[in-house]
Amino acid sequence: MQTEFSKEQNLLRDVVSRALRDKSPATAVRELMATDRGYDPAVWQELCGDAGLAGVHVPEVHGGAGGGAVELGIVAEEMGRTLFCGPWFASAVMAGTALLEAANESDREELLPGVADGSTIATLVLDDLDDPAGVGGSITATANGTLTGVASMAVDAHVADLLLVVASGTGVLGLHAVEGGASGLAIEPLQVVDPTRKLSRVAFTGVPGRHIGEVTGDTLNRIWDRICSALAHEMMGGAQHLFETTVSYTKERFQFGRPIGSFQALKHRCADLLLEIEIARALTHHSARCLDSGEGEPCAASMAKAAAADAYMSAARAGIQLRGGIGFTWENDTHLWFKRSKGSEVLFGTPAIHRERMMTMLEGAA
C-alpha cells in the first residue's frame, strides 16, 4: 500500500489549493452562504467544467481523470480548507460514489460523464444520514420505479439536476435516478447551522424514477466508507486552516504586555491540538489508501471519520476560545469553520456511531 503522496498527487494538491484560494476566499464564502442557491455557477464551471475537479475519481472511460480515493481526498481537503461553497461534495463525492459503486454499467456510462465534467449537478438522497444500517424504509419504489416517501435531509438537493435515491422496493434496496424537475417532487430548503452546506427536505409523491442498480448492505457500506473518507479529508482541511490561523493569532494578539501565545496555557493547548490533528490526518490519509488498495483495516474509514470529526471540533473550539470575545462575533470568520465542523461531525454518523461501527467490524456486534 502507498504510504506517501506521489509527485503527481502533490502537484494536484498545489493546483487545487491555488485555485481555491483564488476562487473561494472568505468574502466569497460569506456572500454565497447568504444566497438560496449557495454557489456561483461561473466558479462551478471553472473548477468542475474546466479543471475537472468533480471527476478526479471517475474512470477515464466515463470522462474522469481516473484517480481514486486519494485524489478525491486531496480535492476534498482543499475544499474544506477554504469552505468552498457549492455542490461538489453532494455531486462528485456522494452521487459520484453511488454511481461508481451501485449503478449498472449502462447507467454509469450514461450518467457519470455529466457528473464528472460538472454539467450535471447530482446528489444522493438517503432517508438516514446517521447510520447505513438505518437506510431504507422511508422511501419506497414500486416495480415500475415510482417513488413515494420522505428524506428528512438531503445535501444540495435544491440545485440538483439529478437525484439518486436509495429506496426500498421488492427485495434489496435499489438506487433510483430522478430528474430535478420531476412531477411529485417537493424540495423544501431547511434552515441550517452551517449555511455553507445547504440541506433540504425531499418529499416524493408518486415521483417517476428509474431503477439503475441494486444496493446491498455491502454496497451501502462501501458507499458510506468512501463518502466518510472524503468527508474526513474535507474536515482535516478545515481543521488545519483553523489551527494555522489560531496559532498565528496568538502571536499577534498582545495582553499583559506580551503576545498571548507566550502563555503556557495557550501553548500547551496548541501543542495538544497539533498532536490530535496529526493523528487524525494520518488516519484520514490512510483511509483513502486502504480504499484504493483494498488492503488495510476494514474499519479505516470509520476510524478516520471519528478522529477527524473530533479533531476538527477541537480545532474549532480552540479557534473561538483562543480569540476570546472577538472569536464569538459574527464579523470574525472563525464561526464559519466552527459551523462547518459541527455539521460535518454529525453528517454520515457521529464519532460515537463510527466508533461502534468500527468495533462491530473488529469484534462483531455487542
Partner: protein, 414 residues
Amino acid sequence: MTPDRIRQEVSAWLDANWRIDRPLIEWREILLEGGWAAPHWPEEWYGRGFTLDQTAVVAEVFRERDAVPAAQVGPRGLASETILACGSDDQKRRFLRPILTGEHTWCQLFSEPGSGSDLAGLSTRAEMKNGKWIVNGQKVWNTSAHHADFGLLVARTDWDVPKHQGISYFLLDMRQAGVEARPLRQMNGHQSFNEVFMTNAVVPPEDLIGGEGNGWHVAKTTLSFERRGFSRRVRGSSIDGPKQGPIYEEYEEELRIAAEPYTWYPQREGRVDLVLPRARETGAINDPATRQEIAKLICLYTGARLASDGAEARRKAGTTEIIPAGSIGKLAASVIARQASVVHTMISGADAMLSGPDSAADGIIAEVLVSVPAISIAGGTDEIQRNIISERVLGMPKGFRADQGPFRDIKRNA
C-alpha cells in the same frame, strides 16, 4: 560500501574469528582489533566510519550468526558516544576500550532533587582544590548507579555567570569513598534508579571533559544520543532464545543486569496489546461504553503509528521535516498510555483493586495502572514536550524567564 559487500566481509570475518568457547572479554578484544565492535565510529577509534544504516547491517549479521556484539547496552552507550564526540585523545584511549569490552559499566549523573525539568539549574558543586576537583551534592534518577564503575557527571564550577555557562562535565570514578548510591523505590514498587550522594568526591583534572564551563554543550550531546535511543538498545540487542556455550552465559548475565531496570517499561506504555484479549475474556467487549473507549484507543494507537511511519519515511527520503517527531511521539505515547489505563480500568472493574498474583494477568494489569504515570514524566515531562512543540514547531513566543543573570542570584529550591 554496499549492504551486500558489508554482509560478505562480516561473515568472512566471523567465520575466521567467532568461537563460543572464549571468555567474553577475550572475544571482545578480538572484536575490537577486527574493527567490528563499533563500525559507526572512526577508524582510529575501533570503527570503520560506517553510517548508522551500514552499522545496522553489521548488527543484523551478528544476530543471524548468534555472535556476541560489543557491550553497548545501557548508559555505557551514552558514555562512549559522549567521550567519542567531546573527549580528548587521552580520554578516548583510557575509557572507550573497557566500555566496548564490557569491563566498565557507567551511569548518568544529571538530574538533581532541586533540578528536574530545569537541568541547567543544577547546584552540585565542583571546586578546584590542590589540583583536583572536589565534588559535593546530590543526584537522582540514576539508572545502574549502584553497580557502575564510572558516572557522567554535570556540576557547577562557576556561580557568577548565567546558569548554562557555569557548568562543567566530568567523568567520575564511582568506586571511591565520597560517592554513595542508594536505591530509590518508585510508586510501582520497582527500584530502577538510585540517588547518588557525593561528599568531597574527587575527580582528577584530566577527567574534566570538553573544558571548564563547557559542560552544558557536552550534556546536550549526551542528551541527543539519549533521545536517539542509545541507552535503550538493551531491548533490541538480546540474542533470541537461550544459546548453549560459555560465552552466552556471560553475555546473558550482562544483558540481564542491564535490562533489569526496564522490566516494567512495557507496562508504563499501557499494554495496548492486552486490551482486546482482556475485554473478550471478561465480556467487557459487549459493554457499549467500554467499546467506545477501546475504539478511541485503537484510533489513537493506529493514528500515532501511521504518523510516525510517515515522518520516518519522509526523513529517509531526505525531506526537511519541521515536526520534531521525538516530542510529538513522546506526547502521543503519554496520551495512548493514559487511554489504555482508562480502558484497562473499565475492563477490570472492581478487580482493579487487586495486585500481584491475586490480580488479572498475574499482576500485569495492576502494574499498568500504577506505572503509566511515569510515561508522562520520564525523559522530559509532557509539559516540557508541549513547550518544545509550541516553540519549535509552531513558532509560539517564549515566555517570561526569571533565571537570567548570574546563577548565584537566581531563586532556587532550598
